[in-house]
């Protein structure tokens, strides 16, 4: 049979009509590229600046002030906290409150004036090597000339080919800047987000699409029994995934396990529930399985890009960080990286647990409300 233009055109026209009818798919076709454009174009920045920094100035001399001022001026560091002890700095880094901590030791100016080259301590939360690389380079650069204005007159001799003080950079949690240490634990969250949302979205939409839901609802089975019964097998699937990634992290990638694995497993439950809640909510909105997958993708894309999984969270503009803060993956990444790399306990995780819990509450409320409507 020869290629007939009229027949071919009939198919083209029919496809366009169907495309127009499926509003959600049509919206996604336009919406997803727009979201990608906005996220990649405006939100992602692999050279993060204005990173939160704590300063512990045990020696509050003009030199120390100059250094702090210079840090701020470099645009890489925002002095957000003032610490009063090394212990305080440790907590701030563990909880992820600051990315950097600068300590000016007690005898800094005395040693400087004597030409003894004192040390300036820079501590870094290096769980994500990409987030700190540029900033660390910038501070290294600074050491050569930052004090030039202060070193005048008799002190001018301290200016030289080498900096007047030593910068001691202390990279915590991932001293060798191994990217895998950051990515592999994070993968647990990414995988759970993807499979849990798609699978639950499909599982319930499939019942409706195939007409089996009507049958199910005509039996004495309670909606709660249906939803929980459907979710349990996928929670188990989720834990199989978690186990696989953890085993790979340990034995293939040598990721350090600093914290408690049981704690991680326990906290993962809340994250799984959060994703299942999203999946159920989507399934109450989607009219067919294709739409459910599209909606899952619609949620997955910002989760991947704005959570700090692929790109440094703090490199993003404020609005993108605000969106990121709403996503459960963002908080779960902090928890899983915190436990595995920083050795955090429940107390340090708390600040990321409640946002996930809040998310679950909101998502479930929507799901339950929508589910009731779909009965009628």
């Amino acid at each position: 049979m020869s290629f007939n233009l009229q027949r071919f055109w009939a198919v083209v026209v029919k496809e366009f009509i169907q495309m127009r009818r499926d509003r959600l798919t049509f919206g996604m076709m336009v919406g997803i590229p727009m979201i990608q454009l906005i996220l990649f174009g405006y939100a992602i920045n692999s050279n993060p600046k204005h990173l939160p920094t704590a300063v512990y100035a045990a020696d509050n001399s003009p030199f120390a002030r100059t250094i702090v001022w210079a840090l701020r001026n470099s645009s890489y560091f925002d002095i957000t906290r003032e610490a009063h002890s090394t212990a305080e700095i440790k907590t701030m880094l563990a909880e992820g409150e600051v990315q950097f901590a600068v300590t000016v030791p007690v005898d800094f100016s005395r040693k400087l004036l004597r030409g003894e080259k004192p040390s300036l301590l820079l501590e870094t939360d290096a769980t994500d090597p990409a987030a700190v690389g540029f900033a660390t380079a910038a501070i290294n650069e600074l050491t050569f000339f930052v004090l030039n204005h202060d070193l005048t007159g008799p002190l001018a001799k301290l200016r030289g080919t080498s900096p007047p003080f030593n910068l001691i950079a202390h990279q915590h949690y991932n001293p060798e800047s191994i990217t895998q240490y950051n990515i592999v634990p994070g993968l647990i969250g990414v995988m759970l987000t993807m499979t849990m949302i798609i699978i639950t979205g499909l599982a319930i939409t499939r019942e409706r699409e195939r007409g089996t839901m009507e049958n199910l609802l005509s039996t004495p089975v309670h909606p709660g029994e249906v939803i929980i019964g459907k979710i349990i097998p996928y929670i188990m699937v989720g834990y199989v995934q978690v186990t696989l990634v953890l085993l790979a992290a340990k034995f293939l990638f040598d990721v350090p396990f600093m914290g408690s694995v049981p704690l991680l497993v326990a906290l993962t439950f809340l994250f799984i529930v959060a994703n299942l809640a999203v999946g159920i909510t989507f399934s109450t909105i989607a009219k067919n399985q294709l739409q459910a997958v599209q909606m899952a993708f619609f949620f997955f894309l910002p989760s991947l890009l704005l959570s700090g999984y692929m790109f440094p969270f703090r490199g993003m503009p404020g609005w993108a960080q605000d969106i990121g803060e709403c996503l459960p993956l963002t908080h779960f990444l902090r928890i899983v990286r915190g436990i595995l790399l920083k050795g955090n306990g429940l107390a340090e995780c708390a600040s990321d647990l409640w946002p996930i819990a809040l998310f679950v509450a909101v998502a479930l409320a929507i799901a339950v409300k929508r589910y009731r409507q779909t009965l009628d």
Partner: protein, 320 residues
Amino acid sequence: MSVQQPITNHESLVTPDFAIDVRGVTKKFGARTVVNDIAMQVRPGEIYGFLGPNGSGKTTFLRMLCGLLKPDAGSGHCLGLDFRRESAEIKKRVGYMTQRFSFYEDLTIEENLDFIARLYAMPQRKLAVEKSLERLGMVERRTQLAGTLSGGWKQRLALAACLIHEPQLLLLDEPTAGVDPKARRDFWEEIHKLAAAGLTFLITTHYMDEASRCHRLGYIAYGNLLAHGTVDEVVKTAGLTTWEVSGENLSALADKIRGLPGVEQVVAFGTTLHVSGRDAEKLRASVAPFMSGAHGWTIIESGLEDVFISLMETAKDNFS
């Protein structure tokens, strides 16, 4: 047909109760009234046929009876239980067979039956599944995936699954759509056997032969119950006069008489033509001039189909 027999049997029973006894049942979807003020009484052991054009509200009514949809108005009892407040209890005693095959195609026959038996918390589940497989002659096919069954077998499986929890009332929504005549006949044999054993049926259908196999009928159009009773009662109440015309060139004749006063329907039935109307005198006056021709004219008893089409046409004028 032995249709009338079971009714007289049941009237003599001591239980005067109705299996279904509801009134004023109304359901609106937005501004559209899908079921409008319907009353229905069905005796235990009765096969009640529920007829009406597509979209007339039959499925919605069935769904309200088994608690899938909440009625906007109405009261009454289903199996002695308040049909609005006790739908959870009603669900346990009712079997509902959906229009579309709604079991799991990726489960085997046995797994489907077992799943349903579990949902109804059957005390002797394995035994119930076994009995169900035997009764429907599916013991050898138990491990076959439901999705690979033919239409007739799917329908038998669906019926078996509806019966597994030994319900007292079965709501069957177009159970024989797309099923071949032999399988349909077997199906109705089964239905009559079960009804004789005391089960009550409410069945929707579009087939006239199936309608005449029911003990009683209800006809619904645009959400309104337009007629109900036995087949004879429905036909009699409709008061339709039908002429059967035989001869040559019937389609030319049909064109001529269609639209004349009193002529409400002109339908070709094989080699004959049925001309009907509710006003017998007007109809006779209109067709009289054509009787002198080569055609043979006889008055026949109106069929169910003539009656239903007439009811639907009238309903269209009144409600749409």
